[in-house]
């Protein structure tokens, strides 16, 4: 095999470029949370509930407190005196920091030990005696609303059931009418099982409360440092200017590191109590069992069409399992996230979406794992339903999709649940994917193989994402509008610094954002420092998730940089003694129109801006610009994915033979990084479709609490990805870019599932399609994959 092309080393702007951050990572000099050591630092460990539902009768910490290396033992009773036993969730609920009355899921936080070293802290957990009275647990969301179901949230006054919300979008009457006139209606029950982002680095925090200055410094694995700081100020009553949140290098996030976890709050309390810095880093089981899971959507889906295959309408009634606390991270207005974009890439007459959220005795969360605020569930639902319809109509699934796509001339297109798709050319992407795949030949090969009794399947998924949240008038998290700031400053010698509100977890922001400044200003990316992940040194913004860094912060940087360029123009005009109107810009310099020999480079202009030259009236010294970007709309990346699988007829093991991914995310700032983002998301798809599930037994014991049970894809399950691209710029983004971070995670699971079901000739079976699940499906024995019961 040959390697890919060498990256162009130093493009001044967009293009392939090696990452600036890699120099430290390949030397083992990254600086992750657990690498940070402060003088006198103590270590915390959390005692967790072994029960999914139990009343706490008593907690005896005497023996733990007597441990010679223990400095503090914190329980819910102590937190109650500080008003910190409960904190607000990100979704109009509360979350227990340490359980006071009851535990509500296995792995819930019960006590916190602070000790001199991490081993002693763990030892002391064994010395805490908790007397539990076990209670019946509700594990199955479908039984949580039964009249005899135990009430999980009796902490909420007057709560007599496990219901959280009912929410709908679209037009019910129009949808019912479209279904009534349809020739064909296909209905399917689908589970998108509970999965977990499982970044390689678990979550952790160090808190250091300086009692003299009153300043609290926090180092945290957070994707949203500014949001964390504001929440600490609002919840704990700490003055916001006295809180500094630093997000060091993060070993993957994928949504797992958005929210504030009890462990984080406990390090703050631990530092206040002991007067020392306190570190807590969760272990892998804690990560899988207690931090933000994803999905857990029970979807009843219906699709209506004419007998010729014109899709008329879509309808879903979905049950959302939110676990013991409603702590999903999403814009306030949307309790089901952006799930109502389940209209997908098709031109429909009507659509209606109903979602009911319920409590169960499982860990809280729900929006995580690169899901774009639940576009993942939506995309899976519609792309499975379209395949079910193709099966019903005996039509080729590619042909059915091509027949129903929103056409390029229909953009901007407002879908039936209210989203305004900004731009797209779906047929072009679909045909390119089919060309790369050799779709006709693959179908011919499949016919031959079927005749020989071999199991080969071809699956298609066409997704439309909605990312870059979002317009302030529609979107906030805990009342904070989803706008992001950026500041660009050119130093006297022509080097620059750009300060961001968003926070990389591996996406390569130090390179990409330098390339944006380079593109707009002509300063080489290596001359541009990207500062992020430190609330004392960056402008406010809501952070990195929902593929929003480039759509929101990227736009802020582009506009801030253009403001620098505009200011440079005024200064250059003075230097050249001409009117600014007489100047022309070429990357890196202003010159008198038609005479490039007069050029003043941005570096020369920067020096003049800091020098003694008299500046034009109204122009201040120095060369800088800033912007707070309020996106006018979301962006809508899309893509066409085709998967080819072979299934061993003896073991029913699925092998992904090929995966073709055509992505359209608008212009690519660094194509190498974009391709890397897609590769990673495709592997997520293999994991979710074939391997990953956090299942529970009937007592609420978590059966996916380690990497022995929660299986992630390795190099052996992943094929060599085949990528393609089309470019349809966003008309409202200053750079035309749309974001790509979650596209492949959103789009790929349906393609793989569709391929497996195509191979075995079964209309539907739930993920993960393990050998056992494929066997059950072929035997006609549908089986829940999320419960070890039935």
């Amino acid at each position: 095999m040959t390697v890919t092309q060498e990256p162009e080393t130093n493009p001044i702007g967009f293009g392939r470029m090696q990452r600036k951050e890699d120099a430290r990572f390949v030397r083992g000099q990254g600086n992750y949370i657990d690498d940070i050591v402060l003088p006198g630092m103590l270590h915390g460990a959390i005692l967790r509930s072994p029960y999914a539902h139990a009343r706490i009768k008593s907690i005896d910490t005497t023996a733990a407190e007597a441990h010679p290396k223990v400095k503090a033992v914190i329980t819910g009773a102590l937190l109650e005196t500080l008003g910190l036993a409960w904190i607000p969730s990100l979704s109009a609920d509360v979350v227990a920091v340490l359980a006071t009355d009851k535990v509500r899921f296995q792995g819930q936080e019960v006590a916190f030990v602070v000790a001199e070293d991490r081993y002693s802290a763990r030892d002391a957990l064994e010395l805490i005696d908790v007397d539990y009275e076990p209670l019946p647990a509700v594990v199955d969301a479908k039984r949580s609303l039964d009249p005899d179901a135990p009430i999980i949230r009796d902490d909420i006054e007057g709560k007599t059931n496990n219901h959280i919300f009912d929410w709908d979008a679209g037009n019910k009457e129009e949808t019912d009418a479209a279904f009534a006139k349809a020739d064909v209606v296909v209905t399917e029950e689908m589970l998108y099982p509970r999965v977990h982002p499982a970044p390689m680095e678990t979550c952790g925090q160090i808190s250091d409360m300086n009692k003299v200055t009153g300043k609290l410094t926090i180092w945290c694995t957070t994707q949203a440092p500014h949001a964390h700081r504001t929440i600490y100020a609002l919840v704990a009553g700490l003055p916001e200017h006295q809180i500094r949140v630093v997000s060091p290098d993060i070993g993957g996030g994928f949504g797992n590191k958005v929210g504030i976890y009890p462990g984080y709050v406990l390090t703050v309390v631990g530092s206040i109590v002991t007067g020392k810095p306190v570190k807590w880093v969760e272990d892998r089981s804690e990560n899988l069992m207690s931090t933000s899971f994803a999905r857990d959507y029970h979807m009843h889906g219906e699709i209506a069409a004419t007998s010729e295959g014109k899709i008329l309408a879509l309808r879903t009634k979905t049950l959302a399992d939110h676990g013991a606390f409603n702590n999903t991270a999403q814009p306030t207005k949307y309790p089901a996230g952006f799930f109502h974009i389940f209209t997908g890439s098709y031109d429909l007459e009507a659509a209606y979406c109903e979602v009911t959220g319920v409590y169960t005795n499982k860990a809280p969360g729900g929006v995580a794992y690169a899901c774009s605020f639940r576009v993942t569930e939506a995309s899976y639902l519609v792309e499975r339903l379209v395949d079910c319809l193709a099966d019903e109509l005996k039509m080729d699934p590619a042909e059915l999709r091509l027949k129903n796509f929103i056409q390029p001339e229909q953009f901007p297109y407002t879908c039936k649940t209210g989203w305004e798709y900004d731009s797209g050319d779906y047929p072009r992407a679909m045909r390119l994917a089919m060309d790369i795949a050799g779709y006709e030949q693959l179908r011919a090969e499949q016919v031959e193989k079927r005749a020989r009794g071999e199991l080969m399947g071809i699956g298609i998924s066409f997704f439309t994402e909605t990312v870059g949240a979002g317009p302030r008038k529609h979107m906030d998290i805990l009342g904070l509008g989803m706008a992001d700031g950026a500041e660009v400053r050119v130093h006297p010698t022509g080097k620059a610094v750009v300060r961001l509100s968003v926070q990389t977890q591996g996406q390569g922001h130090e390179t990409t954002f330098a390339q944006i400044v380079a593109q707009e200003l002509g300063i080489p990316p290596l001359d541009i420092d990207v500062v992020h992940g430190d609330t004392d040194n960056t402008p406010f913004g809501l952070g990195t998730y929902g593929s929003r860094s480039t759509p929101v912060s990227g736009a802020a940087v582009a506009i801030a940089t253009r403001r620098v360029r505009d200011k440079a123009r005024l200064i250059a005009a003075t230097m050249l003694e001409v009117s600014p109107d007489d100047l022309e810009w070429e990357k890196g310099k202003w010159f008198v129109k038609g005479d490039p020999s007069t050029a003043k480079t941005i570096q020369e202009i920067a020096l003049a801006a800091h020098g003694s030259m008299e500046l034009p009236e109204g122009v201040e010294g120095h060369l800088d610009g800033s912007c707070v970007y309020d996106p006018p709309n979301l962006t809508y990346p899309f893509g066409a994915y085709i998967c080819v699988v072979d299934i061993d007829p003896e073991t029913l093991q699925v092998k992904v033979r090929r995966f073709i991914a055509v992505d359209d995310c608008g212009p690519r700032i660094n194509p190498m990084i974009v391709e890397g983002q897609v590769h990673g998301g495709l592997a997520d798809g293999v994991g979710m479709a074939l391997m990953e599930v956090i299942a529970f037994d009937e007592d609420g014991n978590c059966l996916g609490g380690s990497f022995m049970d929660y299986l992630l894809p390795t190099s052996m399950e992943c094929p060599s990805w085949e990528l393609g691209e089309t470019v349809t710029p966003s008309p409202h983004h200053p750079l035309g870019v749309k974001g790509v971070g979650e596209s492949a995670t959103v789009g790929s699971p349906a393609a793989i599932v569709n391929a497996v079901l195509d191979a075995i000739g079964v209309r539907h079976a739930d993920m993960p399609l393990t050998s056992a699940q494929v066997w059950r499906a072929t035997e006609g024995r549908p089986f829940r994959t999320d419960l070890a019961i039935e």
Binding site: T4, D22, A23, G252, L682, S706, T714, M716
Partner: protein, 159 residues
């Protein structure tokens, strides 16, 4: 108990608890934080280093078991200011994103190349199959190893 071993060519002696995991010894006692910890169950490989020339998962080795042995970590790959070809390959081919699995991956792949200088894609995938990366989908890790196989001299990787 007192334990002596050689780490990256230097002999070190420390008093440790017998139960101390090697990964914690390397990170917390010696401050070599390039070796990472990612799971409790020897599944992820973020903690891979070499013991007597063989890649091991250091979360599954007790520190006393390393007594008298030679340990090599990611910090030893760069020699005299020159990156090892495997390090340069990961940079060149975008073989890393968050960087957390990278040291363990590179230690395994360096070992592979030392024993099989021209590995096929399949051989590379088998070599890293005991390690997990959540970012790259493995494609560019495979390419990084091939890059290193094709660029073996220090002149080629001095950039």
């Amino acid at each position: 108990m007192q334990v002596t071993m050689t780490v990256n060519g230097k002999e070190v002696t420390r008093d440790v608890e017998p139960r101390l995991l090697l990964v914690h010894f390397i990170r917390d006692e010696l401050g070599l934080t390039g070796t990472h910890w990612g799971c409790d169950t020897s599944n992820c490989g973020a903690c891979v280093l070499w013991m007597d020339g063989e890649p091991v998962k250091s979360c599954t080795v007790l520190t006393p078991m390393a007594a008298g042995r030679e340990i090599r970590t990611v910090e030893d790959l760069e020699q005299d200011g020159v990156l090892d070809p495997i390090q340069q390959g990961f940079v060149s081919q975008h073989g890393l994103q968050c960087g957390f699995c990278t040291p363990g991956m590179m230690m395994t792949c360096r070992h592979l190349l030392d024993h099989n200088p021209d590995p096929s894609e399949h051989e590379i995938r088998v070599a890293i199959s005991g390690q997990i990366c959540r970012c790259t989908g493995y494609e560019n890790i495979v390419r990084s190893v091939r890059w290193a196989a094709e660029h073996t001299t220090s002149e080629e990787v001095s950039a």
